[in-house]
Amino acid sequence: MTGIWRSLGGRIGVLLVGLLLLAALVSLFWSPFDPTFIDPRVPWAAPLTDGHLLGTDGSGRDLFSQILVGSRITAFVAATATVMAGVVGVGLATLAAVPTRLGGPVGQFIDVLVAFPTILTAMVLAAVYGGSVWTAVVAIGIGAGVNVARVARAEMSSVLGTDYVLAGRAAGASTARIVRRHVLPNVAPVLFVQLSLVLALAVLAEAALSYLGYGTPPPTPSWGRMLQELQQFVTVHPLAVIWPGLAITATVLGFSLLGDALREATDPRLRIARTAHGGEAALPRPEVLP
């Protein structure tokens, strides 16, 4: 944790993600207005009028309350989809990388699914089960999961080919132990980066799916659907549509920065370099190189 805080990007990431979590938490107990309450007296209210911090939409619903409550969906989908992507990714990658009869087919299965668009998965799921938060979670989890698997499989294969895995086997360690104790810890830094990317991607994908109507159904506020509803009026009321866009952008940026900082903090090779040379990571500086 101190490692993440050490870099500026990490700090901004922590703050932005913290803001999202805080918003989601606060919205459980309090929001200035009921986000679904339609007030026909104040359509398109400007920011900071009548207590509407960010103004209102065409039906007079408070935008700040909608953003606040919408953060719940974003945080929930990002977290659950990433956990699912992690489970799917690590599971498939392990099956594909460990040399068994299953390895080949699972590898091909990953390659096929990588080519399958997440939006399409979501549409298929929505067609069968109807659009819901879970449609988005499952679609993003599978879509991102196979991409994680593709990267993790390559990493695992290279770890499985190392001398220390051979040495572990020569010392009698079972395949399960080798995967658990040697392979997973050694691919973890790469997995962290991948999964932090998934966090950012899940926020975007959830917004996109809600925008298209395959995600969160109305009236539950979601940033993607806000964007879609407000976008029609962008030429008349450009200010209103900025807020959900800004919220999505800030959250994606936050997760990306946090992921980068996490990678630097967890990779012991970078950690050593830092402590050995007093504070700064001893990586070659690009401008020093010829």
Binding site: T162, R169, P185
Partner: protein
């Protein structure tokens, strides 16, 4: 008396390449055999074949018997009960043969728990004891270190500790000193010599360096092109090399200037 390890007409093909061609070797309990050859002569493949760790797609025929039981064709699960417990291995590169992300004490404790059924705490204590045995300085502290915090010689001592943790009957040392500098080489060789003598462990020592093998092996076998070219007592082979390959290796050892070897073995 049945031999501890008996390799009979071992042949290994990888793809359409014949890597090992009808190799036969025999090791008795407590025996020390040096397997010598240039790079690519098949000595490492022979050792991996004994442990059943050849890459996928390697075609193995012949026979490898440990204490009279056949090892070839046994399942991976059955073999993992042999690996580390009855036959253990020390690798050439201590730098890469240790998991960079695991504390060395944990790495020594792994085979201790697996093969000697020790508890977590018992294995941790036994790991420290092993660290003392292999002469690691400040063992209490070093078992909590990561491999990169150790010197090359210390890492190889850890490699030895891991190999000896299962109290094997046979230790395969695959060029264990090649990656080390000369002074450390001598220390590790002396340690290896001492450890296998005290424990009565048989030793299969693989190297390309005649000077090294002369110090540790009772008998040597010279390998080239996947075949055993010459085999016999160390002194006899080095004094009266019958095969041109042995002569070439001997000449190379002299040319690189090992005065001790030259004085001792020049006829």
């Amino acid at each position: 008396m049945t031999a501890l390890l008996e390799i009979d007409e071992l042949t290994v093909r990888i793809g359409d390449r014949l890597v090992i061609d009808r190799v036969s070797l025999r090791l008795d309990a407590g025996d020390r055999l040096g397997l010598i050859g240039a790079s690519g002569s098949g000595k490492s493949v022979t050792s991996l074949a004994v442990l059943g760790l050849l890459p996928e797609g390697a075609e193995v025929t012949g026979s490898i018997r440990l204490g009279g039981t056949e090892l070839l064709g046994r399942s991976d699960r059955e073999l993992s009960a042999v690996r580390g417990r009855r036959i253990a291995m020390v690798f050439q590169e201590p730098q890469t043969a240790l998991d960079p992300l695991m504390r060395v004490g944990k790495q020594i404790a792994g085979p201790l728990r697996r093969h000697r059924g020790l508890s977590r705490a018992g294995a941790a204590a036994a790991a420290v004891a092993l660290a003392v045995d292999v002469g690691l300085p400040d063992p209490e502290r070093l078992v909590r270190a990561y491999p990169h915090q150790l010197s090359g010689g210390q890492r190889q001592r850890v490699g030895l500790a891991i190999a000896l943790a299962g109290e094997p009957e046979l230790l395969i040392a695959d060029e264990p000193t090649t990656a080390l500098d000369v002074t450390v080489q001598a220390e590790i060789l002396a340690l290896l010599d001492d450890l296998v003598t005290r424990r009565g462990t048989a030793l299969l020592f693989i190297t390309h360096d005649l000077a090294v093998v002369a110090q540790v092996a009772h008998r040597i076998a010279v390998m080239a092109g996947g075949r055993i070219r010459e085999q016999g007592l160390t002194e006899q082979v080095l004094r009266h090399p019958a095969d041109p390959v042995t002569r070439a290796l001997l000449a190379a050892a002299r040319a690189t200037g090992f005065p001790a070897l030259t004085r001792k073995w020049t006829p």
